[in-house]
Symmetry: D2
Subunit: 337 residues, 4 copies
C-alpha cells in the first residue's frame, strides 16, 4: 500500500497515520523524493482502506499488490516523464534517441560525434569514461578528465550527456558533468550504488542485468525510488542465453511487459541487444514497434578503429539512416495506426 | 561446394563429374529436388574450381563454407519464394499472414474463423489436429477426421491450410488435406520425420526448437532440402530462457540473422513468442520490422473457451486490428523508408 | 487419484467404479500395464475417498496431487526396479553400470568392448545403431544389421543391450535385439514414439530433453506408463545453458529431485553431461554420490578413432579405473556412512 | 607471458627487462603481491624466450596462452593454498568446511553456531552482516556492529570468519574482523571492489556470478591477483538456468574444469547450488567427489525461524551428519581409491 502524503502535512498528522497503519500489522517506511512524500506500508492482513481515509494529511491511498511498490504501474495514473532540462525529455510524447561511442576516446572524436548528432536532431549523447572490462589488462576509459572535456563541448553544443557510473565514489566526481547517470548491466544489483543514486537529484537509467529478470530490474528501480529519486529510466539491453549467433538475446518481450508493469519510461539498446553492426537497425526498429520510449545505440566516426565494441557500432551514415527510419516508424506507431 | 547440374545432363557426364570431385578427396551426395539436381561435395582440400568448370553437364558451381549447404544464403542469388498455388505465396514481395486457432475444435469454429479471415484478406489458416501435449491426459486433437472437415470448408472458401505433422505415418494421412506441413518445436530435430518430408512435394514450415540454436534450425532445413524438398519456410517462435514473465523469449535477433544466413523465407510466431494475449500485437509488429516475411498467430472467436492456448489467443477484433497494423507497417518497411 | 484394481475384478465391478468416480465430476482413464490395471481419475472437486472404498474390485486408492500420476513417488511405497532378466537389474540394491561406444562401428570393436566389460563385471552394453545427427551428411549408424551382429555377440557373452530407438517403425525392427530401448534427448517429447513404447513389453530408458525440465521428463514417462509399460528408467544427461566451457551442464540437482518425485530408477550419463573425456570420471562419481541408481558412459578401444563423440569417450584403462571407483563410492554411499 | 622477478632484483635490472620485452612489441604490467613481483607481458609476436633468459633478476619465465595469466594453472607447478593462520587452510591436503547461518542475527545464535561447529571440528564460520536483497524493504543485516560481536565470540573460540563485503567502503570497516572477505554472486564483476580487494592482505573468496561463465570468474580473480593479492579462493554456487525445480542449477562441471584451469583452491556452495534443504547433503557430497577443496553451507539452530534462506538451511543434526559424511567421502577420494 502506498500512502501519498499531502505537501502541507504536519508531524503530528504523520505520526497518527503511521500509528494507525502499524495497528493493522503493517510495516511502514517513509520515502521522500523530489516530487513528494510516501508511506510504503507492507503487510498481509486485509482491512478496509476507508479506515484510513478520514485521517488528515493524506493526498491519496493506493493498493499495490506487486512486491515492488513505488515503481509499479498499478498506482500511478500518468506515465512518468523524465525531464533533462532545456526541453529534453525521456518518456512522454516524443521518442528519445541517445547515440554516441562506447568509450569517450579523444577530443576529435567527441567533436565529430556532436556534429553528427546535431545534424540529425539528436539531443542526448552516450559515452563511457569508466569502462567495466572483463580483463584487468584492457582499456578502462579516460576517467573524470575525459568526462570534463566531453561535458565542455557538449554544453557548448546544447547536447545532454548520459554516462555510466560504476561505484559510489564516482557519483560526486561525475555529478556536475552528466545529465543522466547510467547503471550498467553488471551493476543492476549493486544495491549500495542504487541506494546512493537514490539520494541524488539527477536522472538515473538502469540497464537490465546480464541475466537479470524483469522483476529484478523493477526491484532495482524500487531501490533508487525508495531512497528518494523518482527520475528513473529502465533499459532493455539483451540477456544471456544459450544462443551463440548473437552477443546477447534482445528480449523484445520485456518492452511491452515493462510498459505494463511500471509507470517508468522504457528504452532499448539494440547495439548490445544483438551485438552485430549490420543488424542493429532492424533490432532498433523492432524495439520501437514493441513500444520503447527511446533507443540508445553506439556510433563512431570509424567503428573499425573504436577502442571498444567496434563490431556493434554504426558509422555516421548508418546512424543517420537509422534515425530517419526511427522517426518514421515512431510516427506510424503513434499516429497513423 | 554445391554443383548445380544442367537439366540435360546424361549419366555418363554425371559420373565423370563425381569421379573428378572424388579425386580431390571430396565426399559427394546427389540431391534431386522439385527444382533441380545438385551434387553436394564435402571436403577440406583447396583446389582450383576451374578444374571442374570445363566438364559438361554443369550449370553452376558454388563454394559454400557453411556446414549446411543447400539452405545457405551464400550460393543462391535470389531469395526463395514458396508457392502455395492460386496466387498465394510465402516469401517474396508480399507479407504472408497465417492465422487461426491453436486446435481445430468444431465445424462452427472453423466457419467463424474462415469468415473472419476472408473479411480481412487473410489467405492461409493455421490450426492443429494432432496436438503435442506434455500430459498424456490432455486433449490431443480431432485427428484426420477433423482435418478433412476443415479442408472441405477451407477449399470452398479458397483458404490455404497449414497444420502440424507429428510423425512419419501422418504424412500420407494428411497429404491431401494440407497446403503446408508444419514441423513443431518439439520435432525440429526429429530427423526421420524431416527425411520423410523431404520426399514430399508440399511446402514444409519448420519451427525452431524449444531451445534450438539458429544453426540447428538451418541443419534441420538442410535435412529436408537434401532429401529432395526445396519448398521450405523457417519459423522463429521464441526460445526457452530463465525469464518467467513470458512463456518464451521471442528471439527477434534470429530474424535478421536467418535472413542473412539462408535464402529461405522466415516467418515469426508472436503468439508462442511471448505467450500473453495482450502483447501479441506489439511482438508481431516488432518481428515484422525486424524483417519477417510472414506472421503466424492464434485467433479464436472466444479465446476464453479455446481448448488450448487461450491465454495467448486473439479474439477477432484484436486480430483484425493486428492485420491492419501489420499491413501498414509492412508498407512502411518496404516502401516508405 | 490412482485406483489400483484387483486382479480378480469383473467388468460389472469396474463399470460401477467408473460410474461412481464420474459422478464426482472426475475424468477416468483406464491404464493396463504388465503389472496391473489402474484407473487414473482427474478432477478438482474434493470428496471423501471412503465413498469409493466400499466398492468391490479395488485393491488400493491413492491421492496424487502431482499432474503426472503413475510415475509419481507419492503413491508407490517401494521404488521400482527394472528387471532385464538373468539377474540383471536397474534400480534396487545394486549399481547399474552401462558402458560402450557412442556408435556401433565394427565386429572387432564390439568384441573388444564386450571383453572389456566382462573383465570388469559390467553386464549392460550401450551403443547406437541409429544416430541422430545435426547434419544430414554425417554418419548415421549401421542400422538394424549392425544391431543383429552386436546382439549375437552380446548374447553369447551374456551381456545386455541398451540402444536408441528414433522412430516408431524401428520399434518392431529392434524388438528382438535389445534389452532396453533408449529414447534420446531429441525425442523426449516425441509423444507418438512414447505412446508406442508404452505398448511394448521391454524396458525403456528416457533421457531428459536437451533443455527439458524435470517435470517434462516425468510427463514423458507418464506417457509410456499410461500406455501400458511400467518398465521405465529416467536418465539425466546434462542440459543446455549459456556456459560454453562444457558441452552441456550436468544438472546434478536433478538426481535427488527426481528420486523424490518418482519411484522410477534414475541413472546419469556423465559423458554427455560434461562432454570432456578427462572429466567424465569426477562427474560420474558426483552423480553417484548425488544418489544415481546407475551410470551410463561411453568407452572405446581407441577414442581418438571413434566415429562419433571421441572427445568424451574413455579408453578401456580409464573405464576400468572408473568402474573400480564407482563400486567403492557406491559401497560407501550404501553402507559405510 | 609471466616473468617472475627475483627478490633481490634492483631497479636497473628491472628496467632492462621491461625495455627488452617492450622491444618485442609486448605491453608490460608490473604486479607486486604478498608473495612476489611479476611482469605480465601481453603481446602477439612469437619470439625465442631464451632471448630474455640471460638477463639478471629473473627467477622464472612462463608462457601462458590463456587471456587470464596470473590465476592460470599453466604456469604454477604447485596448487595454491590459502593460509588463514593458526593452522587453518583452504586448499592443499585437507578439506575446508565452512558453515554458519545466512545472516548473523543475535548473540545467542552466534554462540549456538560456534558450539555446534566446535563440537564437529569445523574451523571456519560463515555469516552475513551486509545482505544483498532484491527488495529494498527486506532485512539487510546487522552491519559492522554485528560483525564485531560475532568476531569477539569467534576469536574466543578459535573460529575463523568468512563474510561478504558489498562495497569498497566496507573493506576498511570489516578488515579487522574477518579472516576471509567474500565477494557475492552479484558482485563478481564489480571491478572496483575487486581492484580494492587486491590491495588488501587478507584472503578473498569470489563466488561465481549468478549467470557468470567460468572464464569470467577467472578474469575476476585475475583482477584481484593483478592488483596485488594472491590469497584467492573460487566458489561455485550454482547458475541461473531455465529449470525451476531448484533455486539454481549447481554446475558440478565447473569444479573439475576450474581445478584444471587455475592453481587456486575451488570450493562449492551446495546451499545456494540447489536451494532445497533436504537435498543439500547429496549435492555437497557430489561437489566433493567432483574435486572440491572445500564446502561452504548454511546451518542454523532453527532454520524455520532464520531471517533469510531458511528453506535451504540445515539444522544442527543435519549439519553434523553432513560433516561426518563429507570427511568419509574425502578420505575415500584422497586415499582409498
Amino acid at each position: 500500500m502506498i500512502i501519498q502524503l499531502s505537501s502541507t502535512i504536519n508531524n503530528f498528522q504523520k505520526d497518527s497515520i503511521v500509528k494507525k497503519v502499524s495497528e493493522f500489522g503493517y510495516k511502514v517506511s517513509e520515502v521522500k523524493t523530489q516530487k513528494g512524500t510516501y508511506l510504503i506500508s507492507i503487510g498481509k492482513k486485509e482491512f478496509d482502506i476507508r479506515q484510513l481515509g478520514f485521517l488528515s494529511g493524506i493526498e491519496d491511498i493506493h493498493r499495490v499488490s506487486d512486491d515492488y511498490k513505488l515503481v509499479s504501474g498499478k498506482w500511478k495514473v500518468d506515465r512518468s516523464v523524465v525531464d533533462l532540462g532545456d526541453g529534453v525529455f525521456i518518456g512522454g510524447n516524443s521518442l528519445a534517441i541517445m547515440a554516441g561511442p562506447c568509450s569517450i576516446e579523444t577530443e576529435a572524436q567527441v567533436e565529430l560525434t556532436i556534429n553528427h548528432l546535431k545534424e540529425n536532431g539528436v539531443q542526448i549523447m552516450r559515452g563511457g569514461v569508466f569502462k567495466p572490462r572483463s580483463s584487468p589488462y584492457a582499456f578502462r576509459g579516460l576517467g573524470v578528465e575525459g568526462l570534463k572535456m566531453w561535458h565542455k563541448k557538449a554544453r557548448e553544443a546544447g547536447i545532454k550527456i548520459i554516462s555510466e557510473v560504476m561505484q559510489v565514489s564516482q557519483i560526486a566526481d561525475m555529478y556536475d558533468y552528466v545529465d543522466v547517470f547510467q547503471v550498467g548491466a553488471r551493476n543492476t544489483q549493486n544495491f549500495n550504488l542504487l541506494d546512493e543514486l537514490g539520494k541524488v537529484d539527477k536522472p538515473v537509467m538502469i540497464k537490465r542485468g546480464i541475466s537479470g529478470t524483469i522483476e529484478e530490474l523493477l526491484y532495482s528501480a524500487e531501490y533508487v525510488f525508495s531512497a528518494g529519486n523518482e527520475k528513473l529510466i529502465l533499459c532493455e539491453r539483451g540477456i544471456r542465453t544459450y544462443e551463440r549467433a548473437s552477443r546477447n538475446t534482445m528480449d523484445v518481450n520485456a518492452i511491452p511487459i515493462l510498459k505494463e508493469k511500471t509507470h517508468l519510461p522504457v528504452v532499448a539498446d539494440p547495439s548490445h541487444g544483438i551485438g552485430i553492426r549490420e543488424f542493429v537497425e532492424p533490432i532498433a526498429l523492432a524495439a520501437l514497434m514493441a513500444g520503447a520510449d527511446g533507443i540508445i545505440y553506439e556510433t563512431h566516426q570509424k567503428p573499425e578503429e573504436a577502442y571498444s565494441d567496434g563490431q556493434q557500432t554504426l558509422d555516421f551514415n548508418e546512424s543517420a539512416r537509422l534515425i530517419r527510419k526511427l522517426l518514421k516508424a515512431y510516427e506510424l506507431r503513434e499516429t497513423a495506426f
